[in-house]
Symmetry: C2
């Protein structure tokens, strides 16, 4: 069973897509063919879109589902004349919100992903640059400026998590890979620049087998990617987290979105965005 | 006028937040105090949350707005007993979707931001690593693997845009900064490795004055950040885009989310996520 789904907006379409996908994941067993149509912001484009929806209806033999956040009433009215099944996100919620807030909505297009709050946007972009410049231990002298410093073995998910936290929450997230070089007398000790920022440290760990698979894609059949080496490193690092009382989570079964949300939840760090 | 808004979920809360913010931007002139509460996934947490909502109600003298994507019916029922104004995203749309699809929803928590589709998730993470490894022209030998190559003057927004496209769409996005070193006889010529991948090139430009401000934050009062230098570089690069027929947009007034959506819209590149 296949259903075509259109996500549609006169802006970027990001919200329509996020909401639509969240709802669609509730229907297992149905295969969805997804089409994202941003910037449907003229009557001409709306008419072309209707043609496309109606053609899809004929081809599928079933109404395409339409998630839209089109703000312009005229364009929305045109889309409503198609043979799709509309989930009109704005229509549904704006009227009750208007009543509750005692305020008319401005019906302006797509400000939720624009540079409407310039300082907060600039903060996110600066945070992305911070994450890149302080990735993978390449610099350790800026840790006093970091909001959070992720530590863990190489390839356990630190880099993409830092980038996500920067992009989404505007947080200055650095990360430092724990390696054998940080080992003294058979156990890992925190280097000085991490000790000085201990309250900012958060640990990531990962199942050794998954780590070995990930590393094998980079350097196949090396000591670095062997299961024995991965097990040893993971054991040592988890021991360190426990000994030093550093909060940590296992990243194996979580996406970077989930890891980031969990980190904020556990540490109580306030997002800046 | 201030209203407190709670975004709430038994998952990450990303969808509740995206939808809520999209709706709230429609109400200019109201100041919203935002609270994101992910992982409200036990009755105990739901009860603590109600206390918080009710205290906020007393402090504000007005009902807090609640956007939630809580899937668990029992937890949702508890939240409904609070003194907040609920926007129940799932309740509102799941029933009509169930009827249209002829399928019961599974009422499972938070799969839309999890690693539910492992290949697509892995593709996004690989794309993030690709973006980092092919950022800022540091490597040019992998351009045959790129889905898109952004070009433009230094600090016009290439890096964060590439990272966003990787993270969100799973696209392998490289970027190359055009500098004076690419100039021959008073005009920019495309280096060989870009010429060979010309169909993948997309240009970013920026207003010279804004560029000068951005560069000044990095290297104040340098030739690099002077308005004259910025104007010269921007002129040359725009000339190049036009001469070579490279599609481009001006990034000055757009967020990276908007720039990315526009790039996909203009080029027709299919997202991989």
């Amino acid at each position: 069973m296949k259903r075509t789904v259109f996500f549609m907006s006169d802006g970027t379409g990001i919200t329509a897509e996020a909401l639509g996908n969240a709802l669609l994941t509730q229907f297992e067993g149905i295969e969805f063919e997804r089409v994202v149509l941003p910037y449907i912001d003229t009557i001409k484009k709306a008419e072309t879109t209707i043609e496309r929806i109606n053609k899809t209806f004929e081809a599928d033999g079933q109404r395409p589902i339409i998630f839209d956040t089109i703000v312009n009433k005229e364009i929305r009215a045109i889309i409503r004349t198609s043979n799709g099944f509309p989930i009109d996100i704005f229509e549904t919620f704006l009227s009750p919100l208007e009543r509750e807030l005692g305020h008319k909505s401005s019906y302006t297009v797509g400000t939720s992903h624009s540079i409407s709050e310039e300082n907060s946007y600039k903060g996110r972009i600066d945070a992305v640059h911070f994450a890149l410049e302080n990735d993978d231990g390449i610099r350790t002298k800026n840790y006093h400026k970091a909001d959070i410093i992720l530590i863990g073995v190489s390839r356990c998910g630190k880099t993409p998590t830092c980038i996500y936290m920067a992009l989404q929450f505007g947080l200055c997230a650095a990360n430092y890979p724990i390696t054998e070089e940080d080992m003294r007398d058979g156990m890992i000790t925190l280097p000085k620049f991490l000790k000085e920022n201990k309250h900012k440290l958060f640990g990531l760990t990962i199942n050794a087998e998954n780590l070995s698979n990930i590393r094998n894609e980079r350097r196949a059949n090396s000591r670095y990617s062997s299961l024995a080496q991965c097990e040893m490193e993971v054991d040592l690092v988890e021991e360190l987290f426990i000994k030093e009382g550093i909060p940590y989570i296992n990243s194996t079964y979580f996406s970077i979105e989930e890891i980031s949300a969990k980190i904020l939840n556990i540490t109580g760090i306030e997002r800046k965005n």
